[in-house]
């Protein structure tokens, strides 16, 4: 599995630019100017005797004064009446639900401090994505409103209620329309509340508005099969997956679920069965999904439709009118080959497209029908309710508001003044509405245009329920009393509609008692309590029916072609695709510092969006990385920096949505630029493709806070990968080890391991690079957020990072030397490998030997321990760490006013994990393998007088990983999961030639790349 393939993290590394070489010489970006001090003016400058004495005197005085400080008196304030379930120092876990996934919320002394997946959850099965992890911080958002607001001033709920009720009565009398604008609601109780509200005010209508919508798929299913639903996809049943721009491992529909399904066909269990799914991706931008594909073919947005028509032709053997060849011959061949593979895997194949165009989705339905996917890999009978948005309704709302027909509008989890494609038109029309109510929990762009803000409670403060997919109901349970004078939106609607049930909790219970609990054979108080133990109710799934597509496709093909022609760029222009950000999604999480500092999985950029462009296109346009350009499309212009993105289709650019918020709060405001106005409303849906002009602005370059080459290995061989064919061949020749056992010598003594040897196995084939582990680690270990400027100085504090490596496909296989790079026509054919990198807990740790104060030592359990209170900050250890995983606290991030927006106000700091020290300025820190969890797990077993079970202790990154890429456990137990995983023939240790004996074994990446398509 070793190869001479060149892996590189960024173009600067590939091209070995002087800046990169210079930066890479040092562990820290800004070295201490010791040389200057010693050689230059430092020592020659005169220090008069008087000054010296003054300084000395001041120093002595200051030290003695500081020492005179009285020992502070600590107060200890017990509960007056302690709740029975709370034991100070012992965490409680409660089930709740977020984004339709059942979760467990860890609380300490009554405050939630961590969210983990519920192992019983049917979507993620214990895994959750980065956003769910980070949603905890929204509770502690310092920006939240302290109570209800009216006309920009604070008010009381009673006054607010009477005002709204009077207004509603007047509007009802006038016969004007009432609208509730909400992002997808799938909560059975919320829907009932809204129906009750509609019964009271019959002119009310619910408008489902998803800023990044999937209306195209829903309507296509309506057109094709008469079912207006979002299907549930089963990537775990598909042997061949062909995706046209669908980022299904990213934010598309159901991230954690898709990741789990997808990887179950590719992880070590699948490989043991000598099988692996095959994934081909056609896309214009490099997406998270595309980066994981076995074969990825860059295609312009305007050619996506044509490519699909060609695929349909190739599978069906017919020829739709208007079919034409693609501009790239390689892509054409790839389509033909993909068609062959799909047909061969009939019944086990799946084609998905990310486009929101109805016509394209209809064609995809036709292809899937030909492949027999319905009933196998696509389930229309147990649909998903995660997205219900109807774009046309939203456009109609704007027109209704303009014409003055709307008397009242309610915004629930919707922020159209920011994320509607014609936001200013929407804001203007909104002014014509008499009663504008927002249920936001802070004054966002829309709420600040409303005359009433009925401050909503956070989901961790309120009761509720969710129904993300057919037959799966989850309960939202509060884990803390509302911190502020907020009220659940549904409660407000109940009050305003004079509902006989005054209390939303009772309302939710009624919903469950009558509609949901009986479906699972539960009833009454017992049933309810069972629910609060399990967190969800699952009913037997309906059998997935097979559906046959029987409509005429000629008109569909015509629509696709005409739409494609509209977004095809003429000479001098570029094709623009906007996409949902991998971190802040549609901007909902813009004020979440954990997510802002989470590097984008592909570009590794934090705290910004940018124009991603293919290096070749940029070169042609004489643009360089960091150049600020003016992007103009759809009568909207914005200025953004350029990012050279290998793998981006030539002649295209892409921009992430979700940035450029103006009223999200201190953290998210003015981060990046808003790209929503680049969306267009075409053929009844919002579409993200358009034609844009790019114009260099000139002036200073922008340095993006990009972490990609921050911790580089000078081109050392750290990645191993192979193809499925080679892997199978190798495993057949088992027993013949290359070169035999190498003899190694060691300078160090071996450590005793009387009880445990904690190690990890990380399967590179299972890691999709999503970054959920990074956020989970931040939450668990109180890792500070440092902000854009500090990231630019390479001072991000993440204990675990995901290294993203590019390598050339076979086409560039000869490129091993830098001088050959120029021979490459472009950087289209790159493949991506992810590697989670964290402290390797080496048995012969180089950091331990150099620490002058023994602040980092080895434990008898195989851990490399970092003792903060001992560290004096010499940073030798970081310099000596071959894996570059040690982080230095340059500041007191917890109380330094320069970092005032992150986790240091009295309220937001409640999110800290009390079992982990917050680190002081001047000390090193690094992954501790969640030693607090190890200790707690062992103690728990001791208290219960039983041996520690394997898998009982889960570290934070492992716990959240939806694909189980990380396995942690005791290597001394030969039957533990981790011991078994490490026995895999794919296991290798990073930089094992240094003989530092790392404790983390990686399983080499396997790509299912058959010769045929790869050569294309």
């Amino acid at each position: 599995m070793e190869s001479n393939k060149k892996y590189w993290k960024g173009l600067e590394e590939l091209n070995n630019t002087p800046e990169f070489v210079e930066l890479n010489k040092h562990e820290f970006a800004e070295p201490i100017p010791i040389e200057d001090v010693l050689s230059g003016t430092g020592l020659t400058g005169k220090t008069p005797r008087r000054n010296f004495l003054k300084t000395l005197g001041f120093g002595l005085g200051a030290v003695s004064l500081a020492a005179c400080q009285k020992t502070p008196v600590h107060k200890s304030i017990p509960y007056l009446i302690k709740p029975e379930e709370v034991t100070p120092g012992v965490a409680n876990f409660y089930v709740s639900s977020y984004n339709g996934q059942s979760i467990l919320v860890k609380t300490r002394e009554g405050r939630p401090i961590k969210i983990e997946g519920n192992p019983g959850d049917i979507l993620g099965q214990g895994g959750v994505n980065a956003q769910t992890q980070a949603s905890l911080l929204e509770l502690y958002n310092a920006n939240r409103l302290k109570g209800p607001m009216q006309d920009g001033g604070e008010t009381a709920w009673s006054a607010l209620d009477s005002f709204v009720k009077n207004e509603l009565a007047a509007i009802k009398a006038s016969g004007k329309q009432i609208r509730i604008v909400s992002s997808t609601i799938n909560s059975p109780s919320s829907l009932r509340v809204i129906n009750d509200f509609i019964a009271q005010y019959p002119t009310t209508k619910l408008v489902n508005y998803d800023p990044i919508s999937l209306t195209g798929i829903i309507q296509a299913n309506q057109n094709s099969f008469g079912k207006a639903v979002l299907p549930r996809y089963s990537f775990d049943k598909a042997d061949v997956i062909v995706s046209f721009g669908a980022d299904f491992l990213g934010p598309w529909i159901s991230q954690a679920e898709h990741m789990r399904q997808y990887v179950s066909k590719r992880s070590h269990q699948a490989l043991e069965g000598k099988k692996m799914s095959r994934h081909i991706q056609f896309e214009s931008r490099m997406s998270l999904t595309g980066s994981n594909a076995d074969t990825r073919i860059p295609v312009k947005p305007s050619e996506e439709g044509v490519a699909l028509i060609n695929l349909y032709n190739a599978i069906s053997g017919t020829s739709l009118p208007g079919s034409k060849k693609l501009s790239s011959a390689a892509a054409d061949t790839a389509i033909t080959l993909a068609a062959k593979e799909l047909v061969a895997a009939k019944g086990r194949a799946l084609v998905v497209a990310g486009s929101n165009d109805v016509a394209i989705q209809v064609l995809v339905n036709a292809i899937n029908s030909l492949l027999g996917s319905y009933g196998t890999t696509i389930d229309l009978d147990n649909p998903s309710y995660q997205y219900k948005g109807n774009d046309a309704e939203m456009v109609a709302l704007l027109n209704d508001m303009k014409s003055g027909q709307v008397g009242a509008v309610f915004f629930l989890n919707a922020n159209p003044v920011y994320n509607y494609y014609q936001s200013s038109a929407f804001a203007d029309a909104l002014k014509k509405v008499r009663l504008r109510v927002s249920f936001a929990d802070y004054a966002d762009e829309t709420a600040s245009q409303c005359n009433v803000i009925a401050t909503n409670s956070h989901f961790l403060e309120s009761w509720g329920d969710e129904n993300s997919v057919e037959g799966y109901y989850t309960i939202v349970q509060p884990t803390i009393n509302p911190v502020y004078d907020s009220r659940k939106a549904e409660q407000s609607l109940l009050v305003w509609s004079d509902n006989p049930v005054k209390d939303y909790y009772t309302y939710v219970r009624n919903t469950w008692n009558t509609n949901i609990l009986p479906q699972a054979g539960l009833a009454g108080q017992n049933g309810w309590e069972t629910l609060l133990q399990t967190g969800f109710v699952k009913t037997t799934a309906k059998p997935a029916g097979t559906y046959t597509f029987s409509r005429d496709l000629n008109a569909v093909a015509q629509t696709i072609l005409s739409q494609s022609a509209k977004v095809a760029a003429p000479v001098g222009k570029l094709e623009l695709q906007v996409f949902e950000s991998n971190t802040v999604l549609d901007g909902r999480y813009a004020n979440n510092p954990w997510l802002q500092e989470l590097p984008d999985p592909i570009s590794k950029v934090t705290w910004d969006n940018y124009v991603a462009i293919a290096p070749k296109t940029a070169k042609d346009m004489k643009l360089e990385e960091g150049d600020v350009v003016k992007v103009t499309a759809n009568n909207y212009t914005t200025e953004l920096p350029i990012l050279l993105q290998p793998g981006q289709a030539q002649g295209t650019i892409s921009i992430a949505l979700g940035y450029g918020r103006t009223k999200s709060g201190k953290v998210g405001d003015a981060v990046g630029k808003n790209a929503f106005p680049f969306l267009a409303f075409a053929n009844g849906t919002f579409q993200g493709n358009t034609v844009a002009t790019l114009e260099a602005v000139g002036g200073d370059k922008v340095v993006l806070a990009q972490t990609q080459t921050h911790h580089s290995y000078e081109g050392r061989d750290v990645i191993r990968e192979t193809t499925l064919q080679q892997y199978l061949k190798k495993s057949e020749e088992k027993g013949e080890k290359e070169g035999g056992e190498k003899e190694t010598y060691s300078l160090w003594d071996e450590y005793d391991r009387p009880q445990y040897d904690w190690v990890m196995a990380i399967d590179l084939n299972a890691c999709t690079g999503c970054g959920a582990c990074v956020v989970a680690c931040n939450v668990e270990n109180n890792v500070p957020v440092v902000g854009r400027d500090e990231v630019r100085r390479r001072r991000e504090m993440h204990w675990i990072r995901i290294d993203r490596y590019y390598s050339f496909d076979e086409k560039g296989k000869n490129v091993t030397e830098e001088k050959e790079i120029d021979k490459l026509e472009n950087l289209d054919n790159v493949s991506v490998t992810y590697q989670p990198m964290l402290c390797q807990h080496c048995d012969h740790a180089p950091c331990e030997t150099v620490c002058p104060v023994l602040a980092t030592t080895h434990s008898s359990e195989g851990l490399n321990q970092m003792t903060y209170n001992r560290c004096v900050g010499t940073r030798y250890c970081a310099n000596n760490c071959p894996y570059k995983v040690r982080r230095f606290n340059w500041f007191n991030y917890w109380n330094d006013s320069r970092f005032e927006n992150y986790l240091q106000n009295d309220y937001t700091e409640l999110v800290l994990n009390p079992d982990v020290t917050t680190r002081f300025r001047g000390v090193m820190e690094k992954c501790s393998m969640c030693v607090q969890r190890i200790q707690a797990g062992k103690l728990n077993a001791k208290l219960q007088k039983r041996p520690l079970a394997d898998g009982e202790i889960k570290v934070a990154c492992q716990q959240t990983c939806p694909t189980n890429a990380i396995i942690f456990g005791n290597a001394k137990d030969p039957n533990s999961e981790v011991s078994k995983a490490l026995k895999s023939e794919r296991t290798y240790y990073v930089l094992e030639e240094l003989n530092v004996k790392p404790g983390i074994g990686y399983q080499a990446k396997v790509r299912n790349r058959e010769a045929a398509t790869t050569e294309a």
């Binding site: 020992t71 008196v73 600590h74 107060k75 200890s76 304030i77 017990p78 509960y79 007056l80 009446i81 302690k82 034991t87 100070p88 120092g89 012992v90 005793d752 391991r753 009387p754 009880q755 030592t857 434990s859 008898s860 359990e861 851990l863 321990q865 970092m866 003792t867 903060y868 209170n869 001992r870 079992d915 982990v916 020290t917 501790s928 030693v931 607090q932 200790q935 062992k938 103690l939 077993a941 001791k942 208290l943 007088k945 039983r946 041996p947 520690l948």
Partner: protein, 424 residues
């Protein structure tokens, strides 16, 4: 003072006992069996009633003494619910007065049993009423004649101190006068001046002589350096060590009384020490388990009531008046040290006293142990791990082999000295 009042109590009790026995002897056979009544009273009534004080239910002494309708009383005691159901006005009045908290039903008591109880309550209450009057009469006189008050002691001490200071000042004055005399020789008689001079010369000579002895000088310098050195070493070493720290607490809670005299198990109040990290200062609802009834008159206990917003006369809580009690924390570990009580108390089975000292004798708690890392480590080095009966250690083969070899397996041998056991 306390001793005295105890004596007084005992005395008045014995007086009362004699008086009581006499009255009992007289009235015993006449009406009902007071002794039987007492037994029944203690078994059935005391969990909710007291004779002279309102508890969950009314104070029985005055209630039963003032109520003359024994038939009604019997009915009420046997089945108060029936009376309430029958809308008996008297019954309803009591029922409503006590927040409609129904009294237990005692249908198992016969009319005779109830009569016994009533007899007991009435006689006992009579005795009680007689007792405080007698106590008050004798009490006042005794207080003055008995032990000296603290004021007296402090006064005496102050006199001694002042006298001492006066003596010192006088001495100084004498010294100054003498020095003045020395300066102005004319004021002195000749011969005295001479002797003084010779004495002064002599003194100097010895000092000079000694100063010439290099060995002696060296010895003194060395001794000085050593003393100063060790003093500053100890001072620095003990910086931030608060052994013996005994702050004044907002409530004069005595561990001596509760844990020592009353022998209440530590777990009763500090149960979290057996479950998790913190031993915790108990919440006030735990105090109220007993102090709803016990020592309700004490001003210290009233601090608890005030904190809870509890009114002992109505037995109601007013949460708006509640405010937490701010205890002063005595045992402070630095934030970077993780300590878990349950690991030590439950797993290792240590006595609380091992670290907290003779807590059962402390009127006010002080920090017994230094709580330094050295102190932790010493114990980890010396204490053998108790494996027996804990299946957690069952499959630790290496540990067992060490034990077989006859080695001592201490906490340290299992990694108890490693940094990340406490610092993370």
């Amino acid at each position: 003072m306390r001793k005295f009042s105890l004596l007084l109590k005992q005395f008045s009790r014995s007086v009362l006992l004699v008086a009581g026995l006499a009255t009992m002897g007289l009235s015993a056979h006449a009406q009902a069996d007071v002794a039987k009544g007492e037994a029944l009273y203690k078994a059935k009534c005391t969990s909710c009633h007291k004779l002279d004080q309102r508890m969950t239910g009314p104070a029985l002494g005055p209630a039963i003494t003032s109520e003359t309708d024994d038939k009604w009383l019997t009915k009420w005691i046997q089945n108060n619910q029936a009376l309430i159901a029958a809308k008996d006005p008297k019954a309803l009045k009591i029922y409503n007065e006590y927040n409609q908290a129904g009294m237990n039903v005692f249908t198992e008591l016969s009319d005779g049993d109830v009569a016994n109880i009533i007899a007991y309550v009435r006689t006992e209450y009579k005795k009680m009423q007689a007792a405080p009057a007698a106590g008050a009469a004798t009490g006042g006189a005794a207080a003055a004649s008995d032990t000296p008050s603290s004021f007296m002691i402090f006064g005496l001490l102050a006199v001694i101190v002042i006298a001492f200071i006066v003596i010192l000042v006088l001495n100084r004055a004498i010294g100054t006068l003498e020095r003045l005399l020395l300066k102005r020789k004319d004021l002195l008689p000749e011969e005295t001046a001479e002797t003084e001079e010779t004495v002064a010369v002599d003194r100097f000579a010895t000092v000079k002589k000694l100063a010439k002895n290099k060995k002696l000088v060296f010895f003194f310098v060395l001794a000085g350096v050593l003393t100063m050195g060790s003093w500053s070493w100890v001072t620095m070493w003990n910086t931030n060590v608060h052994q013996g720290y005994q702050p004044v607490q907002p409530i004069k809670y005595s561990h001596e009384l509760h844990a020592g005299v009353m022998k209440i198990n530590c777990q009763y109040c500090h149960s979290p020490a057996y479950k998790g990290k913190n031993a915790t200062i108990p919440s006030l609802n735990i105090c109220m388990n007993c102090h709803k009834v016990v020592k309700t008159e004490s001003p210290e206990i009233h601090k608890i009531y005030d904190a809870l917003g509890y009114d002992p006369s109505t037995q109601k809580y007013d949460t708006t008046k509640a405010r937490p009690i701010q205890w002063v924390r005595i045992h402070n570990l630095p934030d970077f040290a993780y300590f878990n009580h349950s690991q030590h108390v439950k797993v290792a089975g240590l006595e609380c006293q091992k670290c907290h000292g003779p807590i059962q004798t402390m009127k006010e708690v002080y920090q017994y142990s230094p709580l330094t890392m050295k102190w932790c480590i010493q114990c980890h080095r010396r204490t053998e791990t108790g494996f027996k009966g804990n299946a957690y250690y069952d499959n630790m083969i290496e540990v067992h082999e060490r034990l077989k070899r006859g080695e001592k397996v201490t906490a340290a041998a299992l990694g108890g000295l490693e940094c990340a056991k406490c610092h993370y």
